[in-house]
Each structure stands twice: as C-alpha cells, then as structure tokens.
C-alpha cells in the first residue's frame, strides 16, 4: 500500500504555491496529509503532482481581527485545540476538536485541509458553518471570499476553481458569556461523526433566546444549519419546551444521506437527540455566562 509515483513540489511561499496550482495538471495539494495520504496509499487518488504546502509558513495563523477570528488554512488542528485565544473567543471550536480524530492526527492535520476535503461527517466544516465562516481563497489572479453557506459545490468538493487554494477563514466571535456545545455520536471515540451538532446561543436577562445557531454534520454533503429551528426559537425562553420544539423540527429534516451502515432514519434520530442534548448544555452555559 504505497502511493503511485508523482512529482513532488515543495513551495516556500504562497506565490510559488499559487504558480504551481495555476499551472500543473492533475495536481493535489498536500496539507496535513491525514486524509489525502491514506487515499494515496490506497491508490484511490493518484495525482501526477503533489504540491506540499507545509513549508508555506505564512498560511498558518490564529488572529483576532476585530469581531472576527481568523484561522490560516495551514494552521494545525492541535494549535487551534490548545490556543488560549481560541479558548477565550470561540470555546465551541476547542470543544469540537476533542472529537476530531486523535492527537497524532491533530498534530499534523490542518484546518484548511479539513475544510477543503469536506467530508460530510467532518466536525470542522460543521463548526465553521455555526460560526458563519467566510472562506478566503487565492489564485495567481487575485483573491476572493466564499461564505460557508456557498462553500460546498457537491459531495467532498468545495467551490474552488482549479487554480485556487484556500488561504484561511474568518469566523464570527460570539459575545462573552454566550453558550456553546459540540456533541457527536460515533462508534468509537475519534471516528468521524455519524452525526454531530454545534450549537451557539445567547440569552437575555430573562433567559429568553436572543440569538441561536445550530449546525449539523453527517446529514448532507454540506453542514446543515437548522435555520427554521433557529428562527423559531429566538424569543422563546431557554427551557425544555424550546428544546423539544427544536427536536421536533430536527426530526423532520428532509434530505438525509444514508449508507450501508447508517440509515437516513437513524441519522435523523441522532440529529434530534444530539440537538436536544447540545441545546440543554448550551443553555446551561449561557445562563452561567450571564451571571
């Protein structure tokens, strides 16, 4: 189980990388390699060229930019998991990483790699959707941005042109004291989620929901924002009634993917149950945060 032969490129700057991406045919970008290398070892993926981004250090960054948090595409998952800044501004992200594979994988795996690999069961696109991420991409011809809601072109295919690469993403910072929760269900700890939920909530002094985001992975090709549930819960008191209302809406999701191991109905059931649990935790944390 060794990769098929390829030509290896190791650019040192973003410009060099963009030149390669813009000119080489049948090339794959190598970020952390934790998803790509298994596929190459199995010979599912056989690019003629491999563009290793690990020396493009300018692509790794964790920065606060006003009301937003910026993650460079080549930032290691472990760096995000253990970052005090991320812990302070986006605790949802830190909690999500506890469910992402294993430490050895997080040491090498990158945020951008996960966003571009775009596995439907993946946690990182899920929290990015909850945090209204805006993806920044570049090519030789310039830069552009793609809101997370438009990032998924189709199954495991982001809306990147052939000559583009992702440089980073900006996530919204929720106000101090907000509630959050990331929960997933998988057969073994560290596996891809069968279904995962990310919840963010703010409450007013009367414990009414003022803002809510619910994002699901493992349901469809793109992470699913439960915008109907979000809209209907705003204004409701953060209690069991709100939780049950959200669970009823979640149970009725239309398009749900299925495979030989997990039926659509099972995924819907997981989505409903996990959404309920995540809301309860998020409400509790928000109440604690408001004190």
């Amino acid at each position: 189980m060794k990769p098929a032969p390829f030509k290896y490129h190791s650019p040192a700057t973003l410009d060099e990388a963009l030149e390669l991406v813009g000119t080489l045919e049948n090339a794959k970008l190598l970020a952390g390699g934790q998803s790509l290398m298994p596929m190459m070892n199995f010979r599912f993926v056989m690019p003629d060229h491999l563009i290793d981004l690990n020396r493009v250090t300018e692509l790794a960054a964790i920065e606060q930019r006003g009301e937003q948090l910026f993650f460079g595409a080549m930032t290691r998952q472990h760096a995000l998991h253990s970052s005090p800044l991320v812990h302070k501004l986006a605790p949802l992200v830190v909690e999500s990483y506890s469910s992402v594979s294993h430490r050895q994988v997080r040491n090498r795996g990158t945020y951008g790699g996960s966003l571009c690999h775009l596995d439907p069961s993946s946690e990182q696109p899920c929290f990015t959707a909850a945090l209204d991420g805006v993806i920044e991409v570049a090519s030789r011809n310039g830069k552009r941005e793609i809101p997370m809601a438009e990032w998924t072109a189709m199954y495991m295919t982001p809306a990147l042109a052939e000559d583009e690469l992702m440089t980073g993403a900006r996530l919204s910072v929720w106000p101090e004291g907000h509630g959050w929760s990331f929960l997933e269900y998988s057969r073994r700890h560290g596996d891809y989620a069968i279904v995962g939920v990310a919840v963010l909530v703010t409450l007013d002094d009367a414990r009414r929901i003022t803002r809510l985001a619910i994002s699901l992975c493992g349901i469809d090709a793109a992470p699913l924002r439960l915008s109907v549930a979000e809209a209907e819960l705003v204004g409701m008191t953060a209690d069991e009634g709100a939780v049950e209302h959200a669970m009823r809406i979640t149970e009725a999701i239309g398009e749900v993917m299925e495979d030989a191991h997990n039926s659509a109905d099972y995924r819907r059931h997981l989505a409903k149950t996990l959404t309920g649990r995540a809301l309860r935790v998020a409400f509790q944390r928000a109440r604690a945060g408001n004190k």
Partner: protein, 166 residues
C-alpha cells in the same frame, strides 16, 4: 522516478540519503535506516503502530513522506532509552506492569505516552486513556498500558521533586 536528497536527524544522529519522493517516513526509517522498531500496521493512519515523534510531536510515519522530514528531528522507539541503554521511566514501567505482550503496538504507545508525559506529568487515568485512543492494541486490553503510564508519571514526578530539592 522522482527523487530528492534529504537530511534527517534521527535519535540525535544525522542521516543524508536519496529517497523517492513517495517514500513514507515509516518506510524510510525501517528500510533505508534499518530502524525497524517503528512498526507498519494499517498504512492509513488508524492503528498508531507507526507513531514517531517529529520535532517533538507525535506523527503517523505512514502518512508522512520522508521528504517532509528533511531538516527535521525524528525520535523513534530506538531513541527513548538513554545512550547507555537505561530504559526511560516509561519503558521501565511498561516492563514492570506488563504493558506489552506481542510488542507490535508498543513503539507507538511509547512515543505517544512520551508526548503525554512531556506535557502533563500528572495525568488522570481518563487523560491517559484519551491520549492512547489513537493506538490500537490487540493483546493487553489496555489496562496494563495505562497502569504503566500512571506508574511512570508518579516516578517522574518524584524524580523532579528530588531534583528541585537537590
């Protein structure tokens, strides 16, 4: 064939070799350098037998290309004992607690636990279990491995306390 010359420091020794760019780090260590302590299990990153330390951080050597280790420092199982062969606290504890039977997962377990104890000298049992979720063992049922890790941690804490006193 696409080849490159790489210079890698492995267990404090510098090696310069020409490799095919598709050569994995695991195969480089085993085939090119003869360091067969690192084991290849699944070759797709789930079993953990191939785990080494790359610039001090655990990494799957089956998912890392040798060319990516150019200029880097790698520590394998062969580099955990002292130069005179004295076992590290972890290795000694594994021996005493029967933290291995066939030994196939052991190099990966040791490098992973070396990283854990390097960051946290007082882990809870739950933290030890969490740390080794990426390393599969078919023989021991994990408990002896966990016992060994906790024993090593307590000894390392005691040794550090003695150093501080001295």
């Amino acid at each position: 064939m696409d080849k490159r010359v790489i210079k890698v420091t492995v267990n404090n020794q510098v090696f310069e070799r020409e490799v095919e760019t598709r050569r994995s780090l695991g195969d480089f260590l085993r085939q090119d350098l003869g360091l067969t302590g690192t084991h290849i299990g699944c070759e797709h990153g789930v079993c953990g037998a191939c785990t080494v330390l790359l610039n001090g951080n655990t990494a799957r050597s089956c998912l890392t290309l040798a060319v990516q280790a150019d200029g880097a420092a790698v520590t394998t199982i062969e580099g955990l004992a002292a130069p005179d062969g004295t076992f590290s606290a972890l290795q000694q504890a594994f021996r005493e607690c029967h933290g291995l039977q066939c030994g196939f997962c052991t190099p990966g377990m040791l490098t992973t636990l070396t990283e854990l104890l390097g960051e946290n000298l007082d882990p809870t049992e739950a933290e030890v279990r969490e740390a080794i979720t990426g390393n599969l063992c078919r023989c021991t049922g994990y408990q002896p491995i966990i016992n060994a890790a906790l024993l090593a941690a307590s000894r390392m804490r005691a040794a550090r306390a003695n150093e501080v006193k001295a």
